[in-house]
Every structure is written in C-alpha cells, then in structure tokens.
C-alpha cells in the first residue's frame, strides 16, 4: 500500500486535476455548512462534502468504501438529519441569532489546528505516491479481514447497533 514510486512522468495528471476540483468543492461546501444561516442549506452543503469524500475514495481505488460512504452517510445519516429537521419543526429559512459568541476564540484555535495538522501531514506523507498499477481488490480484502482478523470487532458492532436502537427508543418514547 505504501509503495513509493517517484518517477515524475508517472504522475497522473487527470487524477490530480480531478482531486483538486473535488477538494475545492468540498472545502467550499464545508465552509457553507458552518456559515449558512439556513439549516436546510447547511444540510445540503454537508451532502456535498460527504459525496466529495466518496468521490475521493473512488479516485484512490477504494470503491467499497466509496459506496458505503454514499449509502451510509448520504443515504442514511443525511436523510435522518433532514427528518430530524422536519420532525422537530426547526425553523426553515433564515435564522438570525446563530452566532457563537466565543467565535473569536474558536476560529484562531481551529486555524492553529489546521496549520499544525497540515504541516504534520505534509511532512509525513509528502513522499508517498499511489501505486500506478494498482488493481482495486478493496472489497475482497475488506471482506477477508472482516471475517478473519477483524471478526470480533465486526460482531461487536452488532451489539453497538442493538444497544443504540434499544436505548434510542427508550429515551425517545413519550411516557
């Protein structure tokens, strides 16, 4: 996976441009999520970000993860979110008093984190390249590991889901 190929002519131009465009869309979407005054706009921008992530996965050759991302995040989580907006009768349309008073503290911290992480990631991974001749066997590998080495976590997750459902029902019931 971490094979390093340094040949300059092997840089795949199309994929890099594709990455750039999708990344730009994701960043704009993310900014819209936190700055938008309309909750539905924010939700749909989040869909944009998550789909962009799925697209990136495809570029990386991990199509199983990409499809899971769409199914779970966009399909389930965002739909659930929109249901929540509908059922709690959140105000559709512009909200006015959304500003976080401590934003003056939060934004610099966030920028600091961004700087640190950016530096760290660039420093750590800048020499990495994706193998040019990778055939994607991602789904196969994932299923092998889920039914092999990662069997116990996989089965444990079923209990997480059961507990979440039961607890959610108990807490949400009107009684």
């Amino acid at each position: 996976m971490s094979a390093v190929i340094l040949a300059a002519d092997d840089i795949q131009v199309a994929q890099n441009i594709g990455f750039g465009i999708i990344a730009a869309i994701m960043v704009i979407g993310a900014l819209k999520v936190v700055t938008s005054k309309n909750v539905v706009h924010a939700a749909l921008s989040l869909v944009l970000v998550l789909s962009g992530a799925a697209a990136q996965y495809i570029l990386l050759g991990a199509e199983f993860v990409a499809v899971s991302q769409i199914l779970v995040y966009v399909g389930a989580v965002m739909v659930l979110f929109l249901f929540g907006v509908m059922l709690t009768r959140a105000k559709l349309g512009k909200e006015t008093d959304l500003d976080q008073p401590k934003a003056w503290l939060g934004v610099p911290v966030a920028l600091l984190m961004l700087g640190v992480l950016a530096w760290v990631l660039i420093d750590g991974f800048q020499d990495e390249r994706l193998p040019a001749d990778a055939t994607s066997k991602a789904a196969v590998e994932i299923s092998d590991s889920v039914l092999g080495p990662a069997l116990v976590p996989f089965l444990a997750l079923t209990f997480v889901l059961v507990a979440a459902v039961i607890g959610g029902i108990v807490l949400a019931r009107k009684d």
């Binding site: 971490s2 092999g148 990662a150 444990a156 997750l157 997480v160």
Partner: protein, 506 residues
C-alpha cells in the same frame, strides 16, 4: 465473471477460534439476548427477574474467567495476536464483571422503584460490560476502538435514563456530545498511526514507531490524539468538564458504574497502548501524562473542596483519583520501571473500584431516606444509621489512603513506582501527589465530620432500611476494601509485567 472474481478472491482461511477464551464474551452476548427476550414476556411486577438474570449472567461470565485462569495455557492469542486472553486481560475482565455485578445489585431496587424501563436498562448495562470485557483483550487499534464504542454508547444512554428530569437529560446530552467528539479524535489519531506504520496490530506498532530512530510529526500528533481521546474517558483535567454534571444527572448506580468501570476501561486501553504500542514513544506520552496527572490531582482536589453535593464531590474526587492512577504511567517508559508502573495501575484500579462502588452504594442507601444529595443531609448519620456511617467512614478513609484500608496500599504502589524511576519528573510528581493526598483528606474528613459530629438536620431520625441487594453490595465492597488493606498481597500478585503479552517489546 464470477470465476474471475473468485480467482481474485485470494486465499481466505477461516480463523481459528478458541471458544474457551471467548467464553466470557459469548456468555455475556447470550445473556444480552436472553434478558431482552425474556423481558418481552414479563408482567410489570415480574420485572425484577431481568435484574436477577443479569446478575447471573455476569457471575457466569466470571466463572469462565476463573476457569480460563486455572485451566490451560496462560496466554491464548487469536487472530494473529489481535485478541489476546492473557492474565492481565483475565484480571481486568474479572474486575469489570465484578463491578458490573455490584452495579446490578445496587440498581435492582433503585430502578424498580423508579419504574425505569428495567429490562432495557439491564440490556444496556450488559452491553457496556461486554464492551469493557472486550477492551481488556483487544490488542489492535480497530478492536480497541470498537470496544470503546461498545462500552460508551450504552453508557451515554444510561446516563440519560432519568429522562423526566432536566438534569438527567443534560447529563446524557453532555456525555454523548463530548464523548463522541473524543472518540472521533482518538479515531483520527489511530488512522494517522495506521497511515504511517501500515499496521494496526499493537505489537507491530511498538516496533514501527520511531523505526528510523527519530519521531516524525505524524507519529507525535497521532499518539497525542489517541491519548486525548482516552483522557476524556478517564476524566483527566482538562477533559473532565463532563464529569460533575453527568455524575449528578445520571441515576446513582450508573454514576457508580461510570466512575469505576468506564474509567477503568479507559485506563485499560491507555495502559495496553502505552506498554505494547508506545514503548518507544516515551518522549511523547510521558510529559503529556505528567501534565494530565498533575492537573487532574490538583484541580480535582481544589474543586472537590468546594462542593456541597456529595455526588459532585465524589465526581471531583474520582477526577483526582484518576490523576493518581495516571501517575505511574508518567514514568512507565523509564528502564526497569515498567514493571512496578503496570502493577501500580492494576492494583489501584482494583482497590479504587471496590472503594468507590462502596461509597456510591452508601450514597444510594442514604438518599432513600433523605431524598437529597447535599452533604449536610448526612448530618448525624452515625446516630440513626451507625452501620452506614461506619461504612462511609471506611470508604472515605480508604480513598484518603489511611491504613489499614485498601487505599493506602494502592497509593503506596503508585508512589513506589514513580520513586523507582529516580528521575526529576518522577520526584516532582511524587511531591505533588503527596501534597494532594493531604488536601484530599480535608474534604473526605468533611463528610466524616457531618456523619459523626453534626446533628440530623431535619430532626427525622428513623433508621434506614437497606434492601438486601444493596446490603449485599455494601458487604462485598466493604469486605474487599478491608481485606485488600490488611492483606495486600492478594492483589499485589496482579499486574506482573509478564502477564501483558507483548509489553515493552517482550
């Protein structure tokens, strides 16, 4: 087409499962489904059966832990070392199961009286204990994370169980939001670590970190993020903000569960990671843990001094005790100290579990009559409920570290571990810990003073009747606290460094 897919399928081999090693987990899983199904068919008056059944399930799992300890090999390793059942894991599984059993004893009357959806409560409790039991055996990043989620998610919901009460809801929401945030940070750290080293197996991580002799920034950030996430779980300062409100809003048996079992699970993860995955990363985690330990001890104590509510006081006290448990890890990387550090942490967790559960059991018992959480409502307790007064004194004295109760040996072990290191960091944290021991005695004494020396505030001196299950919980915890203090060798045998497979690169 299918043929080509099958050809590309590679060679999957069915993993070998050691069912004996998985027996505790299997029993707990079966128990969860049993309780859930039986609950469907019970009449409301029969709901106590769920509590009894959960108790039996935990005891059954405990029996299998016992058989694992006695029969067969000491170390059973599955999935290439990702799920290991060694003596360290067995001791901690036993701790979680016994703590879970005592919480069941403490809850059975409380939950029944409040008409609190008993069946679901016990299902969630069992699920959380299952997660903890898994955590003790997990030796790769993925298993640790899943175990973390498995134990936390039921806990988030259990914390909100007082749903008719706004404090209860606040507790649940706060715990949930901060908890998932912390889990997310941990996961980010884990994924970065995987990205750098290419493996999630802890023993491989141990050799892969600083493989080329120096740290890369990614490794530092990854280790830091992982520690931060678990620091939240153990309510280390400054990640402790959730603790007082959650402890106060949750039902008291759940508070006891969170303060003991959930915290212990966080420590188990930290200890496993520190000794197996990060032995070479001591320059990163040691100073970080030093700061966490020093802050937790001091700030926990300072806030506890000002509390008037017993549950909040115990919450801050457990923040401070968490600092003490963290103390040996600040020197775990120093040569030759790893042994005593591991032993100190395991011993402290066991003693602290017994003592804290006992203290909360007394809180539950007294609240049955006084219906109040204020420390002043304990006034004159010795006059009308001498047994409870003496028990609370024993538990508080043990937390303060007064011999011959269990707490003194736990503190002694922690001090010995840091002094073993013979470094400046070690001596300085030992001094901070000593000062904090005396400060903590002050607020424990305040409660003792209320119990022994003040008068009953409302003049109502009817004796308190404790239900048998609560009484049993009190007897077990008190017995453990006293025995572990007088004969510390019983627990001193635990936590040998050889028990933890792969610790420090062995």
């Amino acid at each position: 087409m299918i043929a080509s897919l099958l050809a590309a399928a590679g060679d999957w081999v069915a993993p070998t499962l050691d069912y004996h090693a998985l027996a505790p987990e299997i029993i707990l899983a079966a128990g969860i489904f049993a309780v859930l199904s039986i609950d469907l068919f019970l009449e409301p008056e029969q709901r106590w059966i769920t509590s009894a059944l959960s108790g039996f399930v935990m005891l059954g799992a405990l029996v299998t832990v016992g058989t694992l300890a006695v029969i067969g090999d000491d170390t059973r390793s599955m999935f290439g070392g990702r799920y290991v059942s060694d003596e360290y894991a067995l001791i901690l599984k036993a701790l979680f199961l016994v703590a879970g059993y005592i919480v069941v004893l403490m809850s059975s009357d409380e939950i029944e009286r409040g008409r609190y959806h008993q069946g679901e409560y016990y299902v969630l409790l069992l699920t959380s204990v299952l997660g903890m039991v898994m955590m003790a055996s997990s030796r790769d990043l993925l298993s640790i994370f899943v175990a973390l989620e498995l134990l936390s998610i039921p806990a988030y919901m259990l914390a909100a169980w007082n749903k008719r009460n706004s404090r209860g809801n606040e507790a649940g929401v706060k715990y949930y939001l901060l908890g998932v945030f912390a889990s997310a940070i941990t996961l980010y750290g884990m994924s970065l670590l995987y990205g750098v080293t290419g493996t999630t197996l802890l023993t491989d991580l141990g050799s892969a970190i600083t493989a080329n002799g120096r740290f890369s920034g990614v490794e530092v950030i990854a280790v830091a993020f992982i520690v931060v996430g678990f620091a939240f779980k153990i309510s280390a300062v400054p990640f402790h903000q959730w603790a007082p409100d959650v402890y106060e809003g949750a039902p008291t048996p759940i508070t006891a569960f969170l303060s003991v079992a959930s915290k212990a699970a966080g420590f188990v993860a930290l200890v496993t990671l520190t000794f197996v995955a990060f032995p070479n990363a001591e320059d990163v985690y040691q100073p970080f843990m030093w700061v966490l330990a020093a802050l937790s001890m001091t700030i926990g104590n300072l806030y506890a001094l000002r509390q008037t509510n017993i549950v909040r006081m115990l919450a801050y006290s457990s923040v401070s005790q968490g600092g003490f448990i963290l103390m040996p890890l600040t020197v775990a990387g120093v040569d030759g100290v790893g042994e005593s550090a591991l032993k100190a942490v395991v011993v402290y967790l066991v003693v602290y579990a017994a003592t804290n559960l006992g203290a909360f059991a007394v809180v539950i018992a007294v609240a049955r009559k006084t219906r109040s959480g204020e420390i002043s409502s304990y006034g004159g307790l010795f006059g009308y409920a001498p047994a409870l007064g003496v028990l609370m004194t024993i538990f508080l004295a043990s937390l303060a570290g007064i011999p011959p109760l269990g707490g003194w040996f736990a503190k002694f072990g922690a001090f010995k571990a840091v002094l073993d290191a013979d470094t400046g960091w070690g001596y300085s944290i030992a001094i901070i810990a000593a000062i904090n021991t005396v400060i903590s005695a002050a607020y424990y004494i305040t409660v003792m003073r209320e119990i022994w020396m003040k008068d009953e505030p409302t003049g109502d001196t009817t004796p308190i009747r404790t239900p048998p299950s609560l009484g049993a919980a009190l007897v077990i915890t008190c017995g453990a606290t006293i025995v572990l203090g007088v004969l510390p060798d019983i627990v001193g045998r635990f936590g040998d460094i050889t028990d933890l497979t792969g610790a420090l690169g062995r």
